[in-house]
């Protein structure tokens, strides 16, 4: 039999060497401490080649934005394009157009075009509603939303159409004595376009309808080869993501690869794959990155814009052994939170709000075999009146950049 010490050494050798990232991180932490000790300022400024790269990126962004503006103003009225990357309306003389934020970050992008001044409001939808409600006789307002295709239930209501959309395909959505609203729902490229055309008259004249059609012709729908949407974009306790999108071939049985970049990582890695359905839509359920991440879809050597998904750590507060004064609090995540603190809060019936009772520093860790999940926890004592309602709150300041704040379930003492 081999010497037990040798066997023990063999056992130790089975464990991998440090990865470059762990060593690099430790080196950076040490360097920071050394810089502080040396009285040197931390290096906020980047090396020269990084500065040049950043300057290049800014220049490209500015140039592309400027080019889009020029293209919009030089486009002949009555034309519509799907080759431009963007969602919304090209402007025309006498019209005000506004587009919302990029699609993918939220459920749907939206855009407004009106031949009257817009009424300022909290968001674009409210602006459209307020302006549409006070349109003059010849006033026209078009409000369009752009949702990514791929969810079969949603796609069913949107027949495929090419641009430009025509008012001939519109149906009357609502009508009153002094206004009429038409609606067009169409699948265009990788998006479901829902356009509402508001008129300031119950029976718009032929001339007004023609003006509205001319602006509708200036609707632009981005031509992206592959799209992705995440729902929800903020993951709570026990929640998982549904990802969906579409490919512009509109064919079934295409393979779409889902790539994710965890917070703190520098590159994307493949995490899953999905097949497209008839029409090019695809979806993938139950994806859980366990950490804030960027997710994108890849198909046919092309990649979608990434969508950001934010995650909360798992926070659990429990009574120990049925005691009303001994508890354990656990924060579980892909990262460990050793020496971070959790705030134990008690619900004040009288005030109707949560009040902090104490901070508990997490000093113990555990991990489950074969899992990348690390639990950081602490046992503690807390004297509270009987029947108090408690919860643990893990603040954003302690969670770091890769997680949102987290709450535990409620515990009754």
């Amino acid at each position: 039999m081999a010497d037990e010490l040798e066997r023990l050494k063999d056992l130790g050798r089975e464990i991998a060497e440090p990865s470059g990232s762990s060593e690099g991180r430790a080196r950076r932490l040490l360097q920071r401490r050394i810089d502080v000790a040396s009285g040197r300022r931390a290096r906020f400024w980047r090396p020269l080649h990084v500065r040049w790269a950043l300057a290049g990126v800014v220049a490209v962004l500015l140039a592309s934005g400027f080019g889009f503006g020029l293209g919009a103003w030089n486009t002949e009225e009555g034309s519509a394009k799907t080759s431009l990357v963007g969602l919304g309306f090209l402007p025309a003389r006498g019209w005000t157009v506004v587009q919302s934020t990029a699609v993918g970050q939220r459920d749907a992008a939206s855009a407004v075009a009106a031949n009257v001044p817009l009424r300022a409001s909290a968001d674009l939808r409210a602006t459209a509603r307020a302006t549409g409600a006070s349109l003059p006789g010849k006033g026209i307002l078009i409000f369009a939303t752009f949702a990514i295709r791929g969810d079969p239930a949603s796609d069913a209501g949107f027949d495929r159409h090419d641009l430009p959309l025509s008012l001939r395909h519109a149906s009357v959505a609502s009508q009153s004595s002094d206004r009429r609203v038409y609606r067009i729902r169409a699948g265009v490229g990788g998006y479901n376009v829902d356009a509402q055309i508001h008129f300031g008259a119950a029976t718009p004249s032929a001339e007004t309808i023609e003006v509205a059609q001319r602006q509708l012709n200036r609707l632009v729908v981005a031509s992206e080869p592959v799209t992705i949407l995440a729902r929800p974009t903020v993951l709570g306790r026990g929640q998982k993501l549904t990802l969906y999108g579409s490919v512009d071939s509109e064919k079934a049985e295409e393979i779409v690869t889902i790539e994710a970049k965890d917070c703190g990582q520098t590159s994307f890695r493949e995490v899953a794959a999905a097949r497209t359905q008839e029409g090019g839509g695809w979806s993938y359920d139950l994806f859980d990155p366990n950490i804030s991440a960027s997710v994108r879809a890849a198909w046919n050597n092309q990649r979608s814009s990434p969508v950001a998904v934010q995650d909360r750590p798992y926070v659990s507060l429990r009574r120990l052994g049925g005691s009303s004064s001994r508890f354990s609090v656990v924060v579980g995540a892909k990262l460990q939170f050793w020496r971070k603190y959790v705030v134990i809060e008690r619900f004040e019936q009288r005030l109707g709000s949560w009040k902090p009772s104490r901070k508990v520093v997490l000093t113990d860790t555990s991990s489950t075999a074969g899992s990348s999940f690390v639990n950081t926890f602490q046992k503690f004592r807390l004297s509270v009146p009987k029947s108090s309602l408690l919860r643990a709150f893990f603040p954003r300041s302690q969670a770091g950049p890769c997680y949102l704040a987290g709450y535990s379930q409620l515990v009754r003492t």
Partner: protein, 223 residues
Amino acid sequence: MLPRGLEQPDSSVNRLAVCGKYPVMNGLEPTDGAVFERSLSEPQIFTVIFERYYRPVYGYLSRRVGQAIADDLAAETFTRAFERRSSYDRAAERALPWLLGIAVNLLAHHRRSEGRQLRALAALREPEPGEHPADAATRRLDATTSRQRLALALERLDDYDREALLLVAWGELTYVEVASVLKIPVGTVRSRLHRARRKLRQALEPRSDDNVIELPRTEARSG
């Protein structure tokens, strides 16, 4: 130019060049004690200690508590070492025992993780490429018998005995160095090692019930 305090008799074969942020040693390397002494006035020189000992310290920690926790503990070990560099005994032959001493203190907060790590070692083995899961399971049963006993016996050792044993086996320290890490006499180290090795030997001896595999305890996720 070699910084003052690190000179050797033949300066042509013993230079410290600075490559990027980190000093790189050529020829004869200065002792750890000289690096520590110099780091008091030139903190940047401490990165030499990091380059020399990060891997052994990380390796020791990752074997004890797993890589996820070792990442943080190894980084913490070196930042603490830097802050306490003035207390380092510059007459010591090498800095590894002193660094492992800091690491061992940090490990005290992670006893539970260590238990899980040992049980994971006993239970887990990656399948060979292309191997059918059923074959892998059979092979695992054969392969894990002794390793499992070893890991479980290790887990059952007294904390003090295990500490001494692992500093020798995984930290690759001498008895004298272990004594300095644990701040105990060398004789005590010897007796702890003797006791620990005897228990491991007993655990590894063939038994009549070798066909019975003791499954490692699995613990549900806390909370």
